[in-house]
């Protein structure tokens, strides 16, 4: 494997920087009620959905873009964004053979050949290219267990009541500026429902990919784990190279009912911009889960891409004995900026949360951890453990930690540990002396540093994540 990594390290800057020549059906740039009506109409949505979107839009108009994150960027011109783009494929596809061969080639270049995925890995994929799901696999196997795994558009048509009941219950329309925008204009995303007592037999996986120049991406994901069920959900993404900044404002909502468990893993590798800090994706994401009694939600993220990241996968520990976990590796290099962390809101009794955050800053980047641990007035015996480590490479980057703790119950036990370190020349020389070159030594040291988080990822994702870390930090120590 190390051969491949070396090749990749020495090869081009951004591996996934290409675009696919697929004909797209794109709405002209701009946002108003008519555009929202058009999106809803194109997707043949029920009236309640349209009303919901319009309400979100009105809310959004009154909101202001947040300025508290520790990032600086030119605010997107929301009227310059096109809010709908769908690959022109109207007819229903029965098999992969019917999929646009150009699209299949894109997947292959990304290393996610659907055929292979289907045959070898046992991973069901719901692939989103420019907002519309193109292929959904393994649906039948899942259907036998009563598991629903489909695009959000399809869910709105086929499982309208489930969607209507849960959509916006974890992240309300007016939660924040980007969540409101997403609620108004989301075009697709994934929907997943695991019935009572069912353990999902495979990792559910979605690859998102931004593919249309100037098209904002507004995915909406909703995962519902009914009582006593279990699901592990993987989300990974890559995007082609672009000069203009691309806006990505997704919303992910997780509902873990009594005794249910959701494991949500993300590998994020969107275009970070070039060496001068030009271009790159704006990743402004709201991710939140709610835990009922004895439920557990575990977020694991490996964030290596995007020019600007603003993201706090959070848990509302509403039910007694519920558990929230957040494991994060955030890498910034060149001119990337990340302000990421989590919120653990303890409401129920005996609730527990764990936060392990590993930030790695290189180049001229800035990497901030921002985390809130709140223990409510009725949350007896709540416990939290937080560990926030920062690793600096070179002397032009920044690492920042903003922990917030609000405890309203005297029995709360909250621990916070933080460290900041640099990769030492001693460590590199030690590796060199054993025959390990400097680039490999850095990869080894960084992977060791992130081990507690990488260990949380499913096997196949962990391997990919390790490679990503190595590629992202290429050339960061002279």
């Amino acid at each position: 494997m190390s051969d491949e990594i070396l090749d990749e390290i020495t090869a081009s800057d951004y591996k996934y920087g290409f675009t696919t020549a697929i004909e797209s059906d794109t709405v002209p740039p701009g946002l108003n009620e008519d555009v929202i009506r058009l999106i809803s109409e194109k997707k043949n949505e029920p009236q309640w959905m349209l009303d919901w979107r319009l309400d979100a839009y009105k809310t959004w108009l009154e909101m202001e873009e947040p300025e508290w994150p520790n990032v600086t960027y030119t605010k997107p011109d929301f009227q310059a964004v096109s809010y709908y783009s769908a690959p022109k494929q109207k007819k229903e596809l029965g098999s992969l053979d019917e999929v646009d061969p150009e699209l299949l080639r894109t997947f292959e270049r990304l290393g996610i050949s659907l055929d292979e995925q289907k045959l070898l890995s046992g991973v069901a994929m719901d692939v989103v290219v420019d907002s519309v799901s193109v292929a959904t696999t393994f649906k039948k196997t899942l259907a036998e267990k009563g598991i629903i795994f489909c695009s959000m558009s399809e869910a709105i048509q086929e499982h309208s009541e489930l969607v209507r009941k849960h959509l916006g219950t974890v992240v309300p329309k007016r939660d924040n500026f980007y969540a409101a925008l997403n609620s108004a204009v989301f075009t697709d995303g994934s929907f997943c429902y695991i019935p009572k007592g069912v353990r999902c037999p495979m990792e559910l996986s979605t690859y998102f990919r931004i593919n249309e120049a100037n098209t904002g991406q507004f995915e909406r994901t909703l995962v519902i784990a009914d009582q006593g069920s279990y699901v592990s959900y993987l989300e990974g993404c890559t995007a082609p190279s672009r000069d203009e900044n691309q806006l990505h404002a997704a919303v992910v909502e997780l509902v873990a009912m009594d005794d249910a468990e959701i494991k949500y893993s993300t590998v994020q590798n969107w275009y970070p911009g070039d060496a001068e800090g030009k271009g790159g994706v704006f990743n402004f994401v709201t991710k939140r889960g709610i835990c009922e009694r004895n439920a557990k939600i575990s977020w694991t993220q490996v964030e290596t891409g995007s020019a600007v990241t603003w993201k706090y996968p959070s848990c509302i520990l509403k039910g007694d004995n519920s558990i929230g976990e957040f494991y994060s590796v955030a890498v910034t290099n060149k001119y990337q900026q990340a302000d990421t962390g989590t919120k653990m809101i303890h409401l129920g009794k005996n609730t527990k949360s764990t936060i392990i955050s590993k930030g790695i800053s290189a180049g001229k980047s800035h990497n901030s951890y921002r985390g809130l641990v709140r223990v409510g007035a009725r949350a007896e015996n709540a416990r939290n453990f937080s560990q926030c480590d920062s690793l600096l490479m070179g002397d032009q980057c920044g690492a920042h930690t903003f922990p917030y703790i609000e405890a309203q119950h005297p029995t709360a036990q909250i621990e916070h540990e933080a460290t900041t370190s640099k990769i030492g020349e001693d460590q590199i020389f030690y590796c060199n002396q054993r025959g390990i070159g400097t680039e490999e030594a850095i990869a080894l040291i960084v992977n060791g540093y992130c081990k507690d988080v990488l260990n949380q990822l499913p096997m196949e994702f962990a391997v990919e994540a390790q490679k990503l870390l190595e590629i992202s930090l290429e050339g960061s120590v002279g």
Binding site: S2, F429, C431, N432, Q433, R434, L444, Y449, D452
Partner: protein, 249 residues
């Protein structure tokens, strides 16, 4: 094997090595002794290629090649191993993963295929047994939370795995209790062949009771001021370094 000729080196602005001459042949064990600050560790670091040490004169020839032209990892690929006086911790990287990477990177550097997993595993078993190490060592983070003795034993384990041509043991005896010393020295002795050589850097005679040198050199003030057989170490032990200092005052 290695010919060091009039080697001079400094750290920052301080001249430390002032003309070292030393030749080591395959199969030989050389001990370098000397008081603190005489340049023993500098010599080992310069041979290994540490950047902070600037070579200002002289040469090191290793099997016909100019060693000073090579990066530290290239020197390792050629078969130079340094057992560190203060082994470095690498959190989250297990001993087995580290040594596996080291072996395969070295093999790659020599144009060889990576070692088969099965062979690697068998070798790890053999070498841990040789050094009377518990197998649980292999899954611990490299040197993290290791006692002084464990760190040194782990160095010799890596040496056993990498099978270098020239092993430099830099104060390997410091921090070792008598049992650990016996085991570590026993390991070094068992790894000795007619083709490899060992350079033992030590402050005390103690280690040389276990690893018997063919030659003993006394380093003082950046120069080798005395060379002899094993009896020189005993003489030093008896008379102390003041003897050397007085002679070279």
């Amino acid at each position: 094997m290695i010919k060091i000729n009039n080697l001079q080196a400094r750290v920052e602005d301080k001249e430390i090595l002032k003309g070292i001459n030393l030749e080591i042949n395959p199969g030989e064990i050389h001990a370098i002794m000397g008081p603190n600050g005489s340049g023993k560790s500098t010599l080992s670091n310069v041979i290994a290629g540490r950047e902070d040490y600037e070579v200002t004169g002289g040469s090191i020839d290793f099997e016909g090649e100019n060693l000073l032209d090579l990066d530290p990892e290239e020197r390792a690929h050629k078969g130079i191993f340094l057992s560190f006086q203060y082994p470095v911790e690498i959190p989250g990287v297990t001993v087995s993963n580290f040594i596996k990477t080291a072996i395969n990177e070295s093999r790659k550097g020599r144009g060889q295929e990576p070692m088969e997993a099965r062979e690697m595993l068998a070798k790890m078993r053999e070498k841990t047994a040789l050094l009377e190490m518990d197998k649980s060592y292999l899954s611990r983070s490299l040197n993290e939370g290791f006692s002084g003795g464990e760190k040194k034993r782990n160095e010799i384990f890596q040496m056993a795995m990498l099978e270098p041509k020239l092993a430099i043991l830099d104060e390997t005896d410091s921090g070792l209790d008598i049992d650990a010393l016996r085991i570590v020295a026993g390991g070094v002795n068992k790894l000795r062949t007619a083709d490899n050589a060992v350079m033992v850097i030590t402050h005390y005679q103690r280690l040389l009771d276990y690893i018997k040198p063919d030659f003993v050199h006394v380093l003082y003030n950046g120069r080798i001021v005395k060379s002899g057989g094993p009896e020189l170490a005993h003489e030093l032990e008896e008379k102390g370094y003041d003897w050397i200092k007085a002679e070279n005052a």
